[in-house]
């Protein structure tokens, strides 16, 4: 089957090195060819962070390791990493070279695990999967090989939840999104292990994963396996919200679902939700006249070229809260077949009044051809990646870059999740639209 990709928007299995980098004071150790880390960082990085990019230890496999095996070299680099890099957690990740020739990295790494060193190993040879899938594999490995050993206990802490919401760096807004998700979950009265990024508590937080009462998965499919794994391992039930909640409607729906299942104080939760909604809709109301009256042209149709979690979340938001109608939507995350139907279903009932067409395709070159062929009567909004720049110009549309490669944006803590994220979407879309006028 033809699976070529023009304009790639995700990385290979080894791309999960970015998930490790997103954990405070954690460092990946690559047992891979020499250019892998750099290439991943080019697509998924924007800044090295604490110890990403050029700081990542790597065996830089050469011909002799391919012929004679690279286990000894890996041992040396691990030893060196312990001495040179000041980190709380080391995660050995393999590349294509090691996985094809069959190095036994488990044997190399377990020697250090036996000395109680904070080290984990995972086979992430690039060809094995993509980074949406291997994000799960890596998190599960950290849970099995590190958390389980260093856990603070298994007694559940009342009101504590673990959140598995985005694939760090693959979602360029992961940090901001996680900050907002943590803010709103704490807002309704929960304790939150957010696990990645600026608002997280580093490995201390990871050590309390088994003590959470619930796992909260906010994702169409990537990350769901982590929650299922934790259910089996620690008997922690999970709550699944199958897309990114953006704006008033969906964020409230999300919080109410969490509040309902976790059984927290409903009136406390509802008062937070009410306050947030009031704030959110005050802004919406304030700018509704702009959307209704601006006579020089605003986007009236939208295309999304996004992963499933963003695609569903954003489509719902653009239609229901901003009145932009869906053209066709494209999901580019190589969604496993078993999840495609439920995602399709989300688009079928995108609002109470209509459904939207969606297709799954990893080859965005083909997607662009399809969009180009459409009849572009109305000003359109494309929500996609930096690859869409010329396409947007050609069809006379506006472009919001939300997927990697972001290239034309610099992202720090901007996020699109939640109430605040919804407002940010509006600012970013209409700011760009207004900026097109002379």
């Amino acid at each position: 089957m033809l699976k070529l990709i023009e304009q790639p928007r995700y990385s290979c299995a080894l791309g999960a090195q970015q998930s490790v980098i997103a954990i405070k004071r954690a460092v990946p150790i690559l047992h891979s060819g020499p250019g892998c880390g750099d290439k991943i960082n080019r697509l998924l990085g924007q800044g090295e962070g604490y110890a990403g990019g050029n700081t990542v230890p790597c065996t830089n496999a050469s011909e002799s390791e391919i012929v004679f095996g690279g286990e000894q070299k890996l041992g040396n680099v691990i030893e060196g990493a312990f001495k040179v890099i000041d980190a709380d957690l080391y995660v050995v990740l393999t590349g294509c070279t090691s996985d094809i020739i069959g190095d036994d990295i488990g044997q190399v790494t377990s020697a250090y695990q036996e000395q109680d060193r904070p080290i984990v190993y995972v086979e992430t040879g690039g060809f094995k999967s993509n980074n949406y899938v291997s994000h799960e594999t890596v998190v599960k490995a950290i849970i099995d090989q590190y958390v389980d050993k260093f856990k603070k206990g298994t007694d559940k802490i009342k009101g504590l939840v673990n959140v598995f919401a985005t694939v760090p760096y693959q979602d360029p807004f992961w940090n901001g999104n996680l900050e907002e998700i943590k803010r709103i979950l704490e807002g309704i009265g929960l304790g939150v292990n957010i696990l990645f990024g600026a608002e997280s508590g580093g490995i201390n937080e990871w050590q309390s994963i088994p003590q959470a009462e619930y796992n909260v998965v906010i994702s169409a499919w990537a990350g769901l396996g982590i929650a299922q794994h934790l259910e089996g391992k620690y008997g922690t039930p999970y709550i699944h919200f199958p897309y990114l909640p953006i704006g008033g409607e969906e964020t409230t729906k999300f919080l109410q679902q969490v509040a309902e299942v976790t059984g927290i104080d409903r009136s406390y939760a509802e008062s937070f939700i009410k306050k947030e909604e009031e704030k959110f809709y005050m802004h919406i109301e304030r700018m509704a006249d702009f959307i209704l009256e601006f006579r020089y042209g605003l986007p009236r149709r939208f295309y999304t070229i996004l992963d499933a979690s963003y695609g569903v979340g954003l489509s719902k938001y653009l239609l229901n809260e901003l009145g932009i109608l869906p053209a066709k939507q494209f999901i580019i995350d190589d969604t496993p077949e078993e999840f495609q139907e439920s995602i399709q279903e989300q688009f079928n009932k995108i609002s109470s009044l209509r459904s939207a067409k969606v297709s799954f395709n990893i080859d965005a070159g083909a997607i662009q051809e399809e969009i180009r062929k459409d009849d572009h009567k109305h000003r359109a909004l494309i929500v996609g990646s930096a690859w869409e720049r010329d396409l947007a110009t050609e069809i006379g549309g506006d472009l919001l870059i939300l997927s990697v490669p972001v290239a034309y944006r610099l992202v720090l803590n901007c996020g699109y999740a939640g109430y605040n994220g919804g407002l940010r979407v509006i600012e970013d879309i209409y700011g760009k639209v207004l900026d097109t006028y002379r």
């Binding site: 892998c36 960082n41 830089n60 060196g80 000041d86 294509c96 490669p405």
Partner: protein, 493 residues
């Protein structure tokens, strides 16, 4: 001298062809001495950090040919640099008044079952589909660790599809694991271009090939008045243009690390003379380079006039800069030949080069001529450089050294290194456009940028105050070369 063998589908690595190395600690003079005595010996690091790989360097040359496309025969992660070079391509289009287009690059997306059953069919299908979609004038295939280890017959596919599609479909072998020196990727790209695209000359043209990246077009100003046109290759060229580079009057390289192979190949195979003097950095170096141009193009008289005029214009200004920069200290990290050029340049400006971390070392280039050794030139003209470290982007060594040396300024040529100067509160300068510091005007441009950076301390002072350091205290106190094994065996004469 390496013998260019266009019959072989693969170019030999730099290690094998030129005896190039990636590990050395000593002085620049000692390194040059070893290289001349033939006693250069590779040193291994027992601890290492992510390097670059050949495939990225090959791709950077193909990705900006205006009417060609690239198929990367690899898992999708290897395509992580597609957009980076597309971005560079588009910036260059702006500078060259070309209309905006995106680079057309395809990944064959090698997956697990392909590593068992082979992925040649996937490659064939991808090339056909890509051809249908773009209708390019040539297709370049870049290989990967995965395609190399599973042993796909990429050359066979390329040949078959060349026939089928009636355009050159060209395999470029640039597997990352094959070479520790990622600039082998340049050689691989040029090998495939000279081997499969360039046609034998039908006539001599008045063109001069300039082997460069995507820097500014500074050579027109010099060569047009001499009656020559400049062909900037490979980025921004066309397939038709590349087919004819064998007809040029000469080949100039802006950096021998980049152009060593293609310069020698065009000379050996098609008799296009290569300008062998090191690229024109610093006054002395530029004089020498200019005279070589005059000699090869038979324009000695005109060149002497230019030299005299430029001296008159530049030298007084240079003196002003020298007075301001006298005694300032610098530490440098860069790729090989360009690093050597920058060493000369910094010394020309009266600065003290306290050391350098240079990505690799080629003891000799493909033309086999020691005249091209820019480091020897720098050492002989301006004096030795201590703390000369051959180090393929090993940031841990760099941090350790910077922390001890504490120069007034750190100069970096490539991304990923600047942060370590800045985090230590050292003003740090990265110049992307290698042409900026080329020639007489280049010396002045460079001086100005250095003065500006030296003056701009607020940012680094503040950054240093609030930065974390991922390196352990223990490490910062060690000898920076603690992990460099067998360096003691390197003899000097």
């Amino acid at each position: 001298m390496s013998v260019i063998n266009l019959k072989a589908s693969e170019v030999q690595t730099r290690e094998a062809r030129l005896g190039s190395i990636t590990g050395f600690a000593g002085t620049a003079g000692e390194l040059v001495g070893c290289a001349r005595a033939g006693t250069l010996k590779e040193s291994e690091r027992s601890f290492s950090q992510c390097m670059g790989c050949s495939s990225g360097n090959a791709f950077c040359q193909f990705s900006m040919i205006q009417d060609a496309i690239v198929v990367n025969h690899a898992p999708v992660g290897c395509a992580g640099d597609f957009f980076t070079f597309n971005f560079v391509y588009r910036v260059g289009q702006m500078e060259r008044d070309l209309s905006p287009v995106i680079g057309r690059y395809f990944s064959t997306n090698i997956e697990e079952q392909d590593t068992i059953f082979g992925a040649t069919q996937k490659l064939v299908d991808t090339i056909r589909k890509a051809y249908e979609r773009v209708r390019p004038n040539a297709i370049f295939i870049t290989t990967s660790c995965a395609s190399g280890i599973i042993g796909d017959d990429v050359e066979g596919v390329a040949n078959d599809l060349s026939e089928e599609l009636r355009i050159p479909v060209i395999a470029c072998f640039c597997e990352g694991f094959k070479s520790k020196i990622w600039t082998t990727g340049f050689d691989a790209a040029y090998h495939s271009i000279v081997r499969k695209l360039v046609k034998p000359p039908e006539k001599k043209s008045n063109k001069v090939n300039v082997i460069n990246f995507w820097g500014s077009k500074i050579f027109d100003e010099l060569l047009n008045p001499l009656g020559y046109e400049v062909d900037y290759i490979v980025p921004f060229s066309t397939v038709a243009q590349l087919e004819r580079i064998s007809e040029a009057a000469a080949t100039i390289q802006i950096c021998s690390t980049l152009g060593t192979y293609i310069g020698a190949a065009l000379e050996q195979v098609y008799g296009v003379p290569e300008i062998k003097s090191p690229p024109a950095y610093g006054i002395e170096g530029t004089d020498r380079w200019m005279r070589e141009i005059g000699r090869v193009l038979n324009r000695q008289g005109e060149i002497e006039e230019v030299i005299a005029k430029e001296h008159e214009r530049v030298l007084p200004k240079l003196e002003e800069y020298r007075n301001k920069l006298q005694g300032k200290t610098a530490y440098l990290t860069a790729g090989a030949a360009h690093g050597h050029a920058l060493i000369a340049l910094l010394q020309e400006l009266g600065m003290t080069v306290q050391g350098a971390a240079i990505f690799h070392h080629d003891p000799i280039y493909d033309n086999g001529d020691v005249v091209s050794d820019a480091l020897a030139h720098a050492v002989n003209t301006y004096g030795d450089v201590p703390n000369y470290n051959v180090c393929n982007k090993q940031a841990y060594e760099l941090v350790n050294i910077l922390n001890k040396v504490r120069p007034d300024i750190m100069i970096a040529r490539h991304g990923g290194m600047t942060m370590w100067g800045a985090k230590l509160g050292i003003p740090t300068l990265l110049i992307g456009d290698e042409q900026l510091s080329f020639g007489y005007q280049g010396v002045l441009n460079y001086a100005e940028r250095i003065l500006e950076s030296l003056d701009n301390k607020e940012f680094v002072i503040n950054l240093a105050k609030h930065s974390t350091m991922p390196y352990t205290k223990w490490w910062l106190e060690q000898d920076p070369f603690s992990f460099l094994r067998s360096d003691l065996d390197v003899k000097t004469y």
